[in-house]
Amino acid sequence: MKEIKKTVIEKITTHFKEVTAQQHDGNRVDFFIGKEEIPAILFFLKDEMGYNHLSHIACVDWLEEKEFEIVYIVWSYTDKIKIFVHTRVERENPVMDNVDMIWRQANTYEREMKEMYGIEFTGLEAPEEFLLEDWEGPPPMRRDFDTEAYAREKFWERPGREDARDVRETIIERTGEELPDFAKKYKR
């Protein structure tokens, strides 16, 4: 296992100059690379090194750092190693290269990321909406999207339910108990 991980890191670092490698316990290797190099490194991993199973593409919103992190996780059935390829893309007008010519199922992930995070994928063939239909609000999976505030603004209380209230308030009234500290922040 250690030998294979070493070879993988060597191969990638010789082919791609601007890459940082990181070893983990077990069968995991991480690479950090600029977003322009993503299609190239994924092509290389798949065609030259046999990492032909795209296991996952995840997107993380690092709001404070004004960046999105996109993680491609690929698996080799022969090496039995999972490789994480991390990249960062700016949060303002994010644009990425699409990779659905390498794995066509990447198309689904990219369609979802486009809707949920507002990341544009150049050349992505996704004419239709994926999960959100007639959505006009901001991309909802971004950290600065407040689900509750959006719902309060967009929808209204059903007539006749004006006196509806939090069940915890009723419990407090009936039993005289204090609301625990951790529950207070959820109080309306």
Binding site: N27, A58, I73
Partner: protein
């Protein structure tokens, strides 16, 4: 004369569709010329809600990612969190987890029996198998308190130990189910309608299967022997003796054959677990979940569910809440890019049989 193409909408409410999704098909006569999967009918923003909860509170949402088999989702999340924190899991808990996962696999296959046979008009199979599934749900009820949603596997181990005399009950249920499987073989696999409607239908190209992201029984139904339990062993699967069945062909029949044999292997695994399970702790206690902060980093844990590989990516910013928890379901690939491709050229009446054979689970796509 060329027939005029018509567009039909199968779903989102349709007895042949496995949940709330739609397949929009363009047909010429009875033959499908184009299929498009339409989802978005049950998006519940679980992943958004998880970000607003602490690491432990997400379990009430996790089990709802896939209704027929919730345990692999819980297990993959728990294992990803443990990997992130470096938390040890007691050996006994690992064995119990494997038992729960395998029981869930059998229960889910029992439901699949009903769905697959029902999609071809053989309704008796479903009535039998859903009845037999209840015996496993009884076991779950005794072990976890819930029949369908368990919230039993959690970071650090499992929620409670096995009750007294539980092992005997499990073994008794396994003996009963093993005998029952012969009845299913006679009723379903010997049935000429089943053979005719499944052989040569919905064929997955073996050469392209891995590249297309096919996993689980559909992949093994192409004759390719890959299973996360063997390739990337988790919990105690490397200490157990079982076979990963494969079948050549890539059609619905092959996938059904793989599942048929896998139930027997699962029964074998459960028996070994009961035989080998050590004593000791079942839970490595976590700190107060309200103050439980995980170190910065990310982790990805994969589990073999009945539908294939499922995985959970979690990312932590060092706080008490997940930065991101992103679930990868097998249906995310199977029911969209693969299904759209498989349906082309097939008969309109085979849509639900093909969908069932891929183990499509829409809640897993939308989360």
């Amino acid at each position: 004369m060329r027939e005029k193409a018509t567009t039909l909408y199968i779903g989102p409410q349709h007895p042949g569709i496995t949940g709330n999704m739609m397949v929009r098909v363009k047909v010429e006569g009875d033959t499908i010329v184009k299929a498009t999967t339409e989802v978005g009918y049950l998006h519940r923003a679980f992943e958004k809600l998880i970000e607003q909860r602490n690491w432990l509170q997400s379990f009430t949402l996790l089990c709802r990612f896939c209704v027929p088999e919730p345990d692999p989702v819980e297990e993959s999340y728990a294992r990803a969190v443990e990997e992130l924190e470096g938390r040890e899991v007691p050996e006994r808990a690992k064995y119990i987890r494997v038992m729960v996962l395998e029981l869930a696999r059998i229960a889910s296959y029992m439901l699949w029996y009903g769905g697959q046979a029902g999609s071809l008009g053989l309704y008796t199979v479903g009535q039998w198998s859903v009845g037999d599934r209840n015996y496993i749900l009884d076991l779950f009820e005794e072990l976890t308190g819930g029949r369908v949603y368990h919230m039993y596997i959690w970071p650090g181990g499992v929620r409670r130990d096995m009750p007294e005399g539980f092992e005997e009950k499990v073994l008794k249920t396994m003996d009963y189910l093993e005998k029952r499987l012969d009845d299913y073989d006679d009723l379903m696999f010997e049935n000429s309608i089943f053979k005719k409607r499944t052989k040569g239908i919905g064929i997955i190209d073996k050469a392209k299967a891995i590249e297309w992201g096919v996993v689980g029984p559909p992949l093994r139904g192409c004759g390719i022997k890959h299973d996360v339990r063997i390739d990337d062993p988790y919990e105690v699967y490397d200490k157990l003796d079982f076979v990963v069945p494969t079948h050549e062909g890539g059609d619905i029949w092959s996938r059904a054959q793989v599942r048929r044999q896998e139930i027997r292997q699962s029964i074998r695994i459960v028996r070994q677990v009961i035989d080998k399970i050590p004593g000791g702790d079942f839970y490595n206690k976590i700190p107060n979940p309200q103050k439980w902060a995980l170190p910065k980093g990310d982790a990805y844990a994969r589990t073999e569910a009945v539908r294939g590989e499922v995985g959970m990516y979690v990312s932590s910013d060092g706080g008490t809440h997940p930065r991101r928890a992103h679930f990868r379901g097998a249906a995310y690939v199977h029911a969209i890019t693969l299904l759209e491709d498989l349906l082309v050229g097939e008969n309109l009446a085979d849509i639900s049989a093909i969908m069932n054979s891929l183990g499509t689970c829409p809640p897993e796509i939308e989360r």
